[in-house]
Subunit: 269 residues, 2 copies
């Protein structure tokens, strides 16, 4: 498979488009994979799956499960149930991977929250195994520790996946989240055989914002090629998701966006 | 020394005040230490030192040296010279510690920039040793990796200080920069005998911004007490700097700020 064929267009890169628009535009641009978000599944996962399949596309991952930490047992229980639904949706979509964003401390201490994440993963792991879905533990950049994810390094994700010890548990390497880490190359190598996703975008200077901080590949300082070669060398040959939350890209998302994304992907990834 | 006596007021917490105002206000509030920034040394370090001493205050640290990485040898040379001046200024001020902010990649690759930081530290270390100044290597939060510091974890700072192997090299633990790190408690313990500063502020949700993101202790999610006890347990008994860059605090910096800072310090640190 050529590098370009590995490109998966995560639908959040073109947030203003409906899922159907994303799918049709990808299809006519020769993009074979898309990354899907649950809140975009208008009309349910089964219908979306049929529509995606009819256009010849494959879902690389469904985002997201996780968000396990909560101050009360009842709330944690609801989160577990929601993860079970997410696993079912991933199965319906034919997505091999459910992206796990662990969630913030959410009123707990960091270490309690981290323990809750581990408990939550252990609880839903059998469901993932039965469904043939891999839980892709994605460390988020430490600047999201307070609001989105107490899992913040690839080392931590590797530790979790080692403990889960199951074919249904892997790690996702998102360049935006891990590029700064002095240990990233060693941890990518350590993740050999456990990498179930590679996501790309860029870190521009100055950063446009915290939650909307990502840029198109080539517009920032991340050594994307180096990271991609490391992920390749660790044996990952699957789709590479372009996932960019960026107000300017969203405002200007037109028919040229996919071609531009493909160009930048080839040049920088 | 009581906890409150360890409070050092970093002058950037009240940016609108002149150095003399900070010193006088600290003096009348019973604060014994201040953290000084080089760009605030109006009239030179010797005069500032005399003024600070006449008010009975002690400088806990001078900020900052470092910023070693640069694409050209000539620019790196200028940075080295600037670090030598910073060491001299620290000596004039009686500051035991020069805070080292390593600088961003600045056009180099991350690994080249990190090597440049090590080279720079090795080059100025003899000057620090002669002057009796400790270079305090401060890891910055990974969200500053692109703009301010390629040194982003306490593990990395510990590795650097281990390599420098000198009484003139230590680490600074800034709660805002390291709180998210799953390895922080182990790295604080590892830094035993090498901790030369502890800085506090808070991480509020949502974060007000990237460069101006800090908040008053108690307004955020950092487990400050836990970190302070860990730093204490690792043998650090020196001043604890309150260093907050926050537009609201700057706008409203009046005579009540120091008392408020002291209250929050006692409650949360």
């Amino acid at each position: 498979m050529s590098l370009l064929q590995r490109l998966s267009f995560n639908q959040m890169t073109a947030d203003p488009w409906t899922l159907e628009q994303v799918v049709r535009n990808c299809s006519s641009s020769g993009i074979s994979y898309i990354g899907v978000w649950r809140h975009k599944l208008e009309g349910g996962a089964a219908e979306a799956a049929a529509m995606i399949r009819s256009e010849g596309l494959t879902v690389s991952s469904l985002c997201r499960g996780g968000w396990f930490s909560a101050p009360t047992a009842a709330e944690r229980r609801r989160h577990i149930e929601d993860n079970r639904r997410a696993i079912e949706e991933a199965a319906l979509l034919g997505a091999p991977v459910l992206v796990i964003v662990s969630g913030p401390a959410n009123g707990q201490t960091l270490s309690d929250a981290r323990a809750t994440v581990m408990d939550g993963l252990m609880e839903v792991l059998p469901d993932a195994e039965k469904a043939g879905i891999v839980l892709g533990v994605e460390p988020l950049h430490p600047m999201y520790a307070a609001e989105r994810s107490v899992v913040v390094t690839l080392q931590q994700a590797n530790d979790i996946v080692d403990q889960l010890e199951s074919p249904a548990a892997g790690v996702i390497v998102d360049a935006f989240h891990v590029w700064w880490d002095p240990d990233v190359m060693a941890q990518i190598e350590r993740a050999r055989g456990k990498i179930v996703g590679f996501h790309v975008s860029d870190w521009s200077v100055p950063l446009p914002g915290i939650l909307m901080g990502r840029s198109m590949m080539g517009d920032g300082v991340i050594e994307l090629r180096k990271l991609r070669l490391a992920v390749d060398a660790a044996g990952y040959t699957g789709p590479i998701e372009v996932e960019i939350f960026n107000d300017e890209i969203w405002k200007n998302a037109d028919s040229g966006l996919l071609e531009f994304t493909q160009q930048r992907f080839i040049q920088h990834v």
